[in-house]
Every structure is written in C-alpha cells, then in structure tokens.
C-alpha cells in the first residue's frame, strides 16, 4: 500500500468533487426558478418576465458549462484512482450511474440546446417545455447520484459474492432496495433543498446588486418577489429535512452522528447538544462548548433523557468491533466532521432568520430601502455555496474510514497500479486548470451581470415582429399568391408590427 498515493487520491477526489459541486446546486436551483419565471411570462404575457427568463438562462448556461466540464472528471475518476472500489461496487453502483446517463443527462443536455439557442427557433410553449425538461433533467441527475452515494452510506439490496479467483464484491439482489436504501429519501430531499436555496440566493444576490446600483429596478424587484419567498420556504424545509437526516443518521450511522456532535462518551441520561465548541479528541470532550442539556436526545429520540450512542460504543462499528482493534481506528476525522456540520447548521439557521426578516420588511414595504440588508444579499450567495460544500464534507468525511459503510474501507478502494507520482502530476494539473477556469468564469460571469438583462420594451417589439412573421408565413401557406414571404427569415422592412 502506497500511503502517499492514497492520501493524494483522497485529496484529488475531494478537490475535484468540491470544485464540481459549486455548480450543480446553482443550476438545479436556478433551473426551477427559470421555470417559474418563464411560466409567469406565458401566463401574464408581460415581457419583463421574458427578460428575466432570458437573462437567467445566460447565467445558467455559463454555470452549466462549468458543471459539465468538471463533472466528466467525476465519472472517470472512480476508475482511474479507485479501481479496486470500482470492481467491488460496479455491480451495484454502476447501474445507478448508467441510469443517470440514460434518464437525466440526455434530457438535460438535449433540451438545454433549445433553452439556450432556441428562443427564435421554437414557439414560446415549446421553449417553456424545454426549460421544464432541463430543470427536470437536473433534478433526475441529482436523484441518481444521491441514490448511488446513499448506497455507499447505507448499503442495502446487495449481497457479497466471492468469485472462483477469490475476489469478493457486492452484487445486486433487489434493485428497489438499492434505490430506496435507508438513507436515500432523507439525503435526496435535503440535498435538493440545499440546491434550491443556492439558486434563490444567486437571484437575490444579483437583484440586490442592481437595486443598490439603481439599475434594472423593475427587473430586480420582480426577481426578488419570486426568489425571496422561494428561499424562505426552502430554508424552512432545510431545517425539516436536516432534522430527518439527523434522525436517520443516528439510526443507521450512529458513529457519524456522534462525530458531528463531538459526543465521545456514552452516559446515563440526556445527551447535550453543542451549539458551538472545539472537540478535544485527546481528552474526549468538547472545549469552549455552549450546550443545551438533553437536546440531542430530544432531537434523536424525541425525549430529553434517553442517551445517544457515543463514539466509545462498539455499536458504532458496523458488524461490531473486530477483536484486537481499537475503536478509535473507526472514528472519522472528528474536527472536520464536527465543524463542517456545525457551520452548515449555523448557516441554515442564518438563512431562515435572514429570509423571514426580509419577508417581514417586504410586507412592511421597507425591504428595498434597507441598503445594509441588500448588501447582505449581495454577498449572501456565498452562504449556500459554503453550506452545500460543508454538508457534502460532513456526509463524506463522517463516513470514514469506510468508502462503503461497513463493507469496504477507503484505503482498500484505491487503484493498486497508480503511483503517487501519477496522482501528484494530475493533482498539480487539476489545481492549475481549475484555478484558471474559475478566474475566467468569474470574469465572464461578472461581465454578464454588469451587462444586465434586456429591456422588456425591446423584447416586446421583437416578439410582435416575430408573431407578425409567423402570421405572414401562415397566410402564405393558405394563399399561394403571397409566396414572396416564404424566403423571409424575419420581418420585412414594411411589415406591420
């Protein structure tokens, strides 16, 4: 076992997936908001909504491109860096990945073409349908990825089979048990909610910026009118889904929850919940902690006195602690788990407070005058991006030392033929390329945002002109004497508008 190669492969995976995971939550969230905006356009025929849909489509395309470019790395990285893992899980995990390709990617990338390039090519209802399909595709994609990942967290529907050559792997027994494994629903809902919050905060951030700069006032106000209630609803749902996640983790991965909470020693009576603190692994306690007595028991068990399983309980090792091994070897990195989990929860609380307070201000008619609040929104987009990253870190780091919970350890999943030098070279290149891309992307994104949306009055003129052309083309079909119109690609100069 090459320890350096292992460490570097872990760093590479964390880095590449962390980079990738900046983008999909934004496209998932933004996609749904675009469906709402374009739906409002079709319903009300107000061209301000068309301007909104078009503007956010451009931003969406930019984010989507980065998601695609960095996402293709993910699929192949299992094979390149984690070949033993691939052999072990391929029978189970691969089908979810293949299903993502067939059911989600084709849908998403196909209709993206019409979404981005098709405004002039198809009629508005077809365009709206494309937007809907892209949004649906991005959600399907999350569904299959979360199914695959949740199987790694709480494996189900498989059995272990050893081949004649002595190789053991997980093989599927029940597909629906794999799909609806014990953690799928909780993790999927929480992840999607996190993505919706990210999309809404992006819209809020840009709109607040326009208000502060005194530009595109109507556009910005209407965008906020859609995104703010959306953000508030999903922030509250994040609390709900987060809670059901906690209960699920306590049941299926008690060691992971104990690491999140810095809960080292099982004790009689209620278990406290630390709001903040610094876990002290050597002394097995939480320093500088601010705790609510019994609250963790209440969250997990629904009463204030039943103890919660701690890190010293052999029950945290799936299948039981093997004789002669120390329980500490089965602990995930405690600091990282504790802090990423706590900061994520803190950010979630902040989203709720911020959105509810803003709704109140809006109701009082004062939201658009509170410049300090608008400034919070401008920078607020960092919040959900960080929270999503931390949520993923907590979920994946909390799973360690397992790559597949209770079945395969991370250190055993590595590619035996790949050397530390190979991985070192690839990490160096990834670091360089991603940094460059991020800089270029931010630059382009910034210039798009500065450019701003189109004027709805222009859109209305174009729309009428195009409708005139469609009517003219229809007239030609019924009246051959007007055949000179058939060559026209647009309205003729003298056409009635």
């Amino acid at each position: 076992m090459d320890e350096t190669a292992l460490l570097l492969s872990r760093i590479q995976f964390a880095f590449t997936i962390g980079f990738h995971y900046l983008f999909p939550p934004l496209t998932i969230g933004l996609g749904l908001l675009m469906v709402i905006m374009e739906g409002l356009f079709l319903w009300t025929k107000e061209h301000q909504y068309e301007a909104m849909a078009k503007f956010w489509t451009k931003i969406f395309a930019l984010i989507f491109a980065m998601g695609v470019a960095s996402g293709i790395v993910m699929e192949f990285q299992f094979g390149t860096n984690w070949s033993y893992y691939s052999r072990f899980v391929g029978d189970v995990f691969g089908s979810a990945l293949a299903a993502e390709g067939i059911f989600a990617f084709f849908l998403e990338s196909g209709f993206l073409a019409i979404l981005v390039f098709g405004w002039d090519k198809v009629r508005p209802p077809m365009h709206f349908f494309s937007t809907l399909m892209v949004s649906l595709g991005s959600i399907f994609s999350a569904v299959w990825i979360i199914i695959a990942n949740s199987w790694q967290q709480t494996p189900a529907g498989h059995h272990l089979v050893t081949s004649a050559s002595g190789f053991t792997r997980a093989e599927i027994v029940d597909f629906w048990q794999l799909v609806f494994n014990p953690s799928t629903i909780e993790r999927l809902t929480h992840t999607l909610v996190g993505a919706f919050i990210a999309g809404a905060f992006l819209v809020l951030s840009v709109s607040a910026f326009y208000l502060l700069r005194n530009r595109h006032q109507d556009f910005a106000r209407r965008s906020i009118a859609i995104a703010l209630p959306f953000a508030a609803v999903f922030s509250l749902l994040a609390l709900l889904t987060g809670h059901s996640n906690g209960v699920m983790i306590a049941k299926h991965q008690p060691g992971k929850l104990a690491a999140f909470e810095g809960h080292f020693t099982t004790q009689e009576g209620g278990t406290p919940l630390y709001l903040v603190g610094v876990p002290n692994v050597a002394e097995r306690r939480v320093d500088y902690g601010l705790a609510i007595p019994g609250a963790l028991s209440f969250l997990v068990h629904g009463d204030w006195t039943t103890p919660v399983t701690a890190l010293d309980d052999p029950a945290i090792v799936p299948g039981g602690l093997p004789a002669g091994e120390a329980i500490e070897d089965y602990w995930p990195p405690i600091h990282l788990s504790f802090q990423s989990y706590h900061i994520m929860v803190g950010l979630g609380m902040f989203f709720i407070a911020l959105t509810l307070f803003s709704l109140l201000q809006w109701w009082r008619g004062k939201l658009f005058e509170q410049r300090w609040l608008l400034w919070i929104f401008v920078f607020g987009i960092a919040g959900p991006l960080i929270a999503n990253q931390l949520g993923w870190i907590a979920a994946e780091v909390g799973r360690q030392p397992w790559i597949v919970w209770g079945l395969l350890k991370t250190r055993d999943g590595i590619s035996p033929t790949v050397s530390a030098i190979d991985v070192g070279i690839s990490i160096g290149l990834f670091g360089l390329i991603y940094l460059l891309l991020l800089a270029v992307w931010l630059f382009v994104l910034d210039s798009k945002i500065r450019h701003g949306p189109e004027d709805p009055a222009d859109l209305e003129r174009e729309f009428k002109a195009r409708r005139g052309w469609i009517l003219a083309a229809a007239a030609v079909r019924t009246d051959p004497s007007q055949s000179s119109y058939t060559d026209a690609h647009g309205p003729k100069p003298g056409d009635p508008r």
Binding site: V68, F76, T80, L97, T417
Partner: protein
C-alpha cells in the same frame, strides 16, 4: 443472444453513436483554425453549438454502462491508462469551456487563446481516443490480477499512434463534410476544397492503418475465419468510403455525410470484431504460437457484472433509449439548416 453479448453489442452501439455524433463536432474543432475571420469562427462554433453537449453525453453514458456492465474492464482500463485519461479529461474540459467562453468578450487575445485551445483540445482528444483504440486492439500488458503492468510511455507505441492519427484524419473529414452542410457562399466553397484534402489524408491513413493491422496485429483478424459474414461489413465499408469522393464531386454533401457516418459505424464494428469476445487483450506471458494471452485477457464473461445487474440495466436501456432517440431527433430537427448568427449564438 445472452446478456453478456447484448451488453457488448450495446456498448458498441453507444460507441457508434458517440463516434458519429461527437465525431463531427470534434472534427469541426480540428478544422477550427482554418477559418479566417471572426465571423467564420463563430459560424464554426455555432454549427455545433446546440449539439456538442448532447453528443458528449453518449460518451458519458458509454462510461457509465461500461462501469455497470463490465466493472473489471472499467477499473483496469482507467487505472491503467491513468495519465492518458487525465490528458483526455483536460482536453474535454478545455473544449467545453473554450466554446462557452470564446465569444463572451471582444478582445483579440481573448478570442485567439480560446480558438487555439478549442482546436488543440479537439485534436488531442481525438488522437487519444484513437490511441486508446489502437492499444485495445494491439493488447496491453495485463497481469493475472487484471491489473495493467505497463507505463504511460508503453501506450505510445507506433501502432496506437497510427490509429490515433487515423482517428484525427477521419474526424477531420467527417467534420469538414458537416461544415459544408451548415455553411453558405465563399466559406462553403473553401470548405469544398477542405473536403478533398481531408478525404485524401483519411484515405492514406485508412490504407496504411489497414496494412499495419494485417501485418502487426494478427489477432485482430482471427474472428474473420469463424464469422465470414463480417467480410460483408468490410465490403460495405469500402463502398461507403468510395461513395464519399463521388458525393463530394457531385456536390451531394448529404450523401457524403451519410457515407462517412456509415464508414465510422463500420470501423467501430471492425473494432468490436477485432476484440470479441474480449474487451481487453493481454500481451503478457504469451504462449508459443499465440499472439496474445487468453487467460489474462478480460472477456465479456470474466469481467462482467452479475446476470441480475445486466438484466436490470437492459430494462433501463429499453425504457430509456426511446426517449433519448426522441429528443435527439427533436433537437436535430430544431437546429436543422444553415448556421445563422443571432443574438443567442456563441
């Protein structure tokens, strides 16, 4: 047909879909720097603008299906080709973002940099695909433990490199025919000349690669003895290739494009015939009188997932493919006709 063979064939179908579809947009990338003005380059990029992303999904799905159906092949090939695959990933990343970023700003240096990146990445990706195919046909040092026992440089032998250049020639030709279909006027007239040049390059590489394969890689043709009907594909392939210059001369680019699609499909079929029933051929510890080691090689049985998984995946494929084909058809129909630059173009 058993499920193992079904998945071997299905992977072939996905590969045909990928090679034909992404083939022309990679080809457009290879030819990109031949465009003279900024408008011409925008026309090039927008000819594939709405389509390339969907085309690449064929590769992603191929990768997912390989992972699920033949996990050992997926694991061996990707960890064995480590640095080559990293290079491929970087090329695909650069291609994607070059298209997205290029026309977003006016600066000459800005656009020039992304033009070069787009062309270089398209060429490199195509070359690497060809090199991968060449290595797979030729056989690689794979041990009894199913692991690759060579180095990065071992992958760059003369035969794989020749197949790589052949792939570049083929996609360049395929791309030039596609561009002819999508352009008008003087630009189209110039591309007419390119079609001849790329066809000539392709023809030379085709003949050379065929001879090289017959001489150097005897195991690639062993299946022709057991399955003589495969000669029919060779024959049809020659006809399809011969039809390309005829169609170019007669100015029937649609037929030329159809012919190049058919010949790409035929090449993928020949690739499959060269391998069957193996997916990765081992060149380690070859017994006297043999040209490869069948024991260490990964075939469609010893590298596959369980029957149950192959079955589930077949259901997924049967459910999904009609949808995929339907919306692929919708998209291609929506964006039919010549490229027009508008305000939603790149």
């Amino acid at each position: 047909m058993d499920l193992h063979l079904f998945w071997f064939v299905t992977l072939g179908v996905l590969l045909v879909g990928y090679a034909i579809l992404d083939g022309f947009d990679l080809g457009v990338g290879i030819l990109h720097l031949g465009a003279k003005s900024d408008t011409e380059r925008r026309i090039f990029m927008n000819s594939i603008g709405p389509l390339w992303d969907g085309n690449e999904v064929w590769l992603v799905t191929f990768g997912g299906a390989l992972f699920a159906a033949f996990p050992h092949v997926y694991a061996t090939a990707f960890s064995g080709f480590y640095l080559a695959f990293m290079l491929l990933l970087f090329a695909l990343i650069f291609r994607a973002v070059s298209m997205e970023f290029r026309s977003k700003r006016e600066g000459v240096l800005w656009r020039r940099s992304f033009d070069v990146a787009f062309c270089a990445a398209s060429t490199l990706a195509t070359l690497l695909f060809g090199v991968a195919v060449g290595n797979t046909i030729k056989g690689m040092p794979i041990g009894a433990d199913m692991e690759y026992a060579g180095t990065f440089l071992d992958l760059l032998g003369p035969y794989p490199l020749v197949v790589g250049i052949f792939a570049v020639a083929m996609f360049a030709m395929h791309g030039s025919i596609y561009l002819y279909l999508k352009t008008t006027g003087d630009l189209q007239e110039r591309i007419h000349g390119w079609m001849w040049h790329t066809f000539g390059f392709f023809l030379v590489m085709y003949i050379f690669t065929t001879i090289f394969t017959l001489v150097e890689v005897p195991q690639a043709t062993r299946n022709f003895r057991d399955y003589p009907w495969a000669w029919l594909v060779v024959f049809l392939n020659v006809l399809a290739i011969a039809n390309i210059p005829r169609a170019i001369y007669l100015r029937k680019p649609g037929y030329a494009f159809l012919s190049s699609c058919c010949s790409i499909a035929a090449f993928v079929f020949l690739f499959g015939i060269a391998l069957y029933p193996y997916l990765l051929v081992s060149s380690l510890d070859v017994a006297p009188g043999m040209t490869f080691n069948p024991v260490f090689s990964l075939d469609i049985y010893n590298s596959a997932s369980s029957e149950k998984t192959l079955q589930i995946m077949a259901i997924i494929a049967f459910l999904g493919m009609p949808f995929v084909l339907t919306y692929t058809a919708i998209i291609y129909w929506t964006f039919r006709g010549k490229v027009e630059l508008g305000k939603f173009s790149y």
